[in-house]
Symmetry: C2
Subunit: 482 residues, 2 copies
C-alpha cells in the first residue's frame, strides 16, 4: 500500500497557509466596512484548524522524503482540495454561490483558467474580488513549482528534457523545492509589483491594478469588472501585453537573470519561437481585419495585439468581441490557445516546447522517408532529444487532443450548442478563459450552463492544468499496488 | 537528377488504360441513344494517343526497375494526372462543366471522396453517371495496390509494419505488383459482382445496382441520384452496410481467404477493432436518438446503422440528414470519419491500425510513468512494433491533423462559414464525402462554393488519399537532389 502520510502532511501545511491568506480578503472587506469579512474570517479559522490538524497528525510523514507515487498523488490532490477550501467563502458570504458555482470559480482560479460563473463583478465586495485574484496568483505560483521541480522528475509529457543537471533522483525533490523557492518568489513578486506599478502609472486605480497584476502574472484572466478589459482600452492594453508575454516566458530564465545571465533568456529556443509565433498570429489577424473592417488602423493594431496575446498566453482577458471579427480570427485564437506559452511559465495548454519537439520529429521522419538508412539525431536548443522525451511529448499531444474531443462531446451531450461545447472544452482543457457561443451570458460568464456542463468544465480545467497525464496515472490500478 | 522515364512510362500505360475504359461510358451513352457518347469517344481517342505516345517514347524506362524516389513520384503523379484525363469528358459533353468543376468531380472520384459539384444527377446521361462510378471504382483499386505494395516499402506512416516477409527491397516493387494483382482483381471483381447481385435482389435497377456496387466497394459514395440513398431506404440499406464494411476490411485478408485461410480475417486485430468501434459509435447514436426523438425504433436502428457506417467507412452515402439528428450524432460521425477503415482496404482517413499503434504507445508511456526503468515492449497483432513504425504513425497523425486545421482555416478565408469550412476540410482530408453547412446545396452538392474553396478541397482530397506524407516528401528540395 502507498504511504499517504507525506501527502496529507503537505496538503495540511498548504491548507494552513491558504487559511492564513484568507485573512487578506477578510481585512480588505473589513476595511471597506463590508460585513462580508465574516465569511472569510470564519472560513480562515476552520481551514487553519483542519489544515493544522492534518499536518500535525502526520508530522513525521516526511522523514522518508517524497517518493515518485507520492509526488503524483500530492500534485493531483492539491489542485482538488485547495480549490474546495478556497471555494468556501464564496458559498458562505457574497456572492452566496451554490456549491457548484463556488467550486467552479475557485477551480477556475487555482487552475488560472479565468472562466467565471459570477455576474455583477463590479458590485461584489472587494474581498471577494481580491480572493479570486489571489487564487489565480497562488495557482500560477504553484504550477511553476510543479513544472520546475515535479514534472521533470516524474517524466511527465517530455518534461524530463528539462531535468536540471545536478538533480535527477526522486530523493531530492523536496530540497529542490526549497532551493528554487527563494529565487522564484523574488521573480514572482518582482513581476507582480512591476505590473501593479505599471498599471497604476497608466491610470488604473490601486485596487484594480493589484487585482489585474495578480491575474496577469498568473496568466489567469479574472477581472474586477463584468466587462473585463473593455474598461481599460488604450495604453493599458500595451502594458498588459508586456506583462502577459513576460508571464509566458520560462521562469527558470528569470531566476538565471537574477544571477546576471541575460543570454539565457534570449538564447532559449522556446522564447524565440514564442515571440515569433505571437508575431505571425497577430500579424495574420491584423491583415485580415484591415481588409475586412473599416475600423481605425491603430485601433485594429492595438485591439488585435491585446486580444490575440491574451488568448495565446492563455490569460483570457477581453477588450473586444473576437468572435465578431469573423471566423478566421476566431479560428486563429482557438489555434494559438492550443499552443500556449513556454514551459515552467504560468501559461498553460500544450506549450511551445512540445510543438518544437514535434516539428523536430517530423523533420527527422521526412528525412528518413527520403533515405531510410540515414541516422538522424534530434536536437532541441543544443541538447540532444532522448527518444523517451519524444514519445512522452507525442503521447501528451494525443491525450490532450483526446481529452479535448471527449470533453467537447460530453459538453454537447449536456445540451450545449456545438460552438459553445467546443469552445468550452477548449477553454477548460487549455485553461484559457472565454467561451464563445449563444449560451454564454452577456458578460462572458457561464453561469447559465447546465450543472453537468459546469462539472465537466471543472474536471477539464483540472486535467488541463496538471498536464493530464499527471492525473491519469492515478487511475491505473497498477499505481496503487506496492 | 532523378530519372523520370519509368514514371512517365507507367503513367502513359495507365493513361492508355483509362482511355480505353472511356469506351464503356461511350458505349452506354450510345446504347441509350444519347449524343453525349461523342464526348467520351473523342476523349478516349486523344487520351489513348497521348498515353500511348508517353509510354512508347519511354519504353526502355523500366529496365532498371522502379527506385524509391520514382515510386513516390509515380504515386503522386498518378492521382494528379489521371483525374485530369478523367475530367475531360465532363467538360466536353454533359454536364458541360467548367474546368474547376470537372477536375473537382474527377478528383473526388479517383480519391473515392464522393463530394459532388454536379446537380441534377438523375437527369444526367447514363454514360456520365457510370463514368463517375468507374472513376471511384478504379481509384479504390489503385489505392489498395498502393497500400499493399508501395507504402510499406516506402515506409509511409508506419505502413512498414505490413511489409511482407519475403519482400523488403525496392527492387521487387514491380514484380510484387504483378504478384498480387491476380488475387486482388479476383477479390475486387468478386465483391463488386456480389454487391451488384445483392442490390438487384433487393430491388435496385440493374443500372443503379452497377453504379452503387462500384461506389460501395470503393467506399466512394457517388450516387446516381441527387438524393443519394434516400431513394433506397429499407432493406437495401442493410445490404449496403454489409458491403461497405467488407470494403473496409484489409484486402490482403480476402486474398488469403482465396487460399482458404479463414482464420486470417477473424484474428486480425484491426478487423476486430473496426467492428467493435462501429458497434460503439452506432450504439451511442442509437441510444441518443431513441432518447431525443419519437421516430419508430426500427427506423432509428436502420437509419443510424446505415448513416454512421457510411461515414465511418468513408463511403459517404446519405439516407437521412445526420446534422438534423442533433449535435452529438454530428460530432460522433465527424470523429469516426477521422478513424476510417482498415489498412489496404479502399477506406480512407487515418485508419484503425494507426489508432491501435497510438493506444499501444500511450499504454507503454503510462507504464513508464509509473516505473521509469521498466522496459516495455510494444506489440500489435502478435508482431513487435518497431520504434520506427511508432514514430512514423505519430508523425502521420500530426501531419494529418495539421493538414486538416490548415485546410479548415484556408477554407474559412475563402468566405465559407465556420461549420461549412470545418466539415469541408474534414470531408476532403478524410475522403468522406458530405459537407454540413449553410453553403451546401439542397442536394448536398458543393457547386455553390467559391472557386478557391473548390481548389483547396481538390488539394485536400488528393493529400488525404495519398496519406499526405507520400506527397509532402516531394516538396523537400533534398528529394530532387542526387
Ligand atoms: K487563463
Ligand atoms: K467517400
Amino acid at each position: 500500500m502507498l504511504d499517504i502520510r507525506p501527502v496529507v502532511h503537505l496538503i495540511g501545511l498548504l491548507g494552513l497557509a491558504l487559511g492564513v491568506l484568507m485573512l487578506v480578503p477578510a481585512a480588505v472587506d473589513w476595511q471597506a466596512g463590508n460585513a462580508n469579512w465574516h465569511a472569510f474570517a470564519r472560513t480562515s479559522f476552520v481551514v487553519c484548524m483542519i489544515g493544522g490538524l492534518a499536518a500535525l497528525t502526520t508530522r513525521n510523514g516526511l522523514d522518508a522524503g517524497l517518493g515518485r507515487r507520492q509526488s503524483f498523488l500530492l500534485t493531483a490532490s492539491l489542485w482538488a482540495v485547495l480549490p474546495a477550501l478556497g471555494a468556501v467563502p464564496f458559498a458562505l458570504g457574497a456572492p452566496n454561490a451554490n456549491l457548484t458555482n463556488a467550486y467552479f470559480e475557485a477551480m477556475s482560479g487555482m487552475t488560472t483558467t479565468g472562466t467565471t460563473v459570477f455576474v455583477g463583478l463590479d458590485d461584489l465586495p472587494p474581498g471577494v474580488l481580491i480572493w479570486r485574484s489571489m487564487l489565480q496568483w497562488l495557482g500560477g505560483l504553484g504550477i511553476v513549482i510543479v513544472a520546475l521541480v515535479f514534472l521533470p522528475v516524474l517524466r511527465v509529457g517530455g518534461m524530463q528534457h528539462f531535468q536540471a543537471e545536478a538533480f535527477d533522483t526522486m530523493g531530492k525533490v523536496l530540497p529542490r523545492v526549497y532551493d528554487i523557492s527563494a529565487g522564484l518568489l523574488q521573480v514572482y513578486f518582482g513581476l507582480t509589483f512591476a505590473a501593479i506599478a505599471a498599471y497604476m502609472a497608466f491610470g488604473m486605480s490601486g485596487f484594480d491594478a493589484v487585482n489585474h497584476a495578480m491575474t496577469t502574472i498568473a496568466t489567469g484572466g479574472f477581472s474586477t469588472s463584468d466587462q473585463s478589459f473593455v474598461k481599460f482600452t488604450g495604453p493599458l492594453e500595451y502594458v498588459s501585453v508586456l506583462f502577459m508575454v513576460l508571464a509566458g516566458l520560462p521562469f527558470i530564465r528569470f531566476i538565471q537573470l537574477l544571477g546576471g545571465s541575460w543570454a539565457a533568456v534570449w538564447k532559449d529556443v522556446q522564447v524565440r519561437a514564442f515571440l515569433r509565433w505571437i508575431g505571425y498570429s497577430v500579424g495574420a489577424v491584423i491583415a485580415y481585419r484591415l481588409m475586412t473592417s473599416d475600423a481605425h488602423v491603430l485601433d485594429v493594431l492595438r485591439g488585435t495585439l491585446f486580444n490575440v496575446v491574451t488568448l495565446f498566453t492563455g490569460t483570457g482577458y477581453g477588450s473586444d468581441d473576437v468572435a465578431a471579427w469573423g471566423d478566421f480570427p476566431l479560428l486563429v485564437v482557438i489555434l494559438v490557445g492550443f499552443i500556449g506559452a513556454c514551459t515552467a511559465s504560468t501559461g498553460c495548454s500544450l506549450k511551445i516546447f512540445r510543438y518544437l519537439v514535434l516539428f523536430e520529429a517530423i523533420r527527422a521522419q521526412m528525412q528518413r522517408l527520403r533515405r531510410p538508412n540515414e541516422v538522424v539525431a534530434l536536437r532541441l536548443g543544443g541538447k540532444r532529444l532522448q527518444p523517451d522525451v519524444i514519445s512522452s511529448v507525442i503521447v501528451m499531444f494525443t491525450v490532450f487532443v483526446a481529452s479535448f474531443i471527449l470533453l467537447a462531446v460530453s459538453l454537447s451531450l449536456t445540451g450545449l450548442e456545438l460552438r459553445t461545447a467546443i469552445t468550452a472544452a477548449w477553454t477548460a482543457i487549455c485553461n484559457v478563459g472565454p467561451v464563445f457561443g449563444q449560451e454564454v451570458g452577456e458578460t462572458g460568464a457561464v453561469d447559465g450552463f447546465p450543472v453537468a456542463a459546469k462539472w465537466l468544465m471543472i474536471f477539464g480545467m483540472y486535467l488541463g492544468r496538471l498536464e493530464i497525464l499527471a492525473v491519469l496515472v492515478l487511475l491505473l490500478p497498477r499505481f496503487w499496488r506496492g
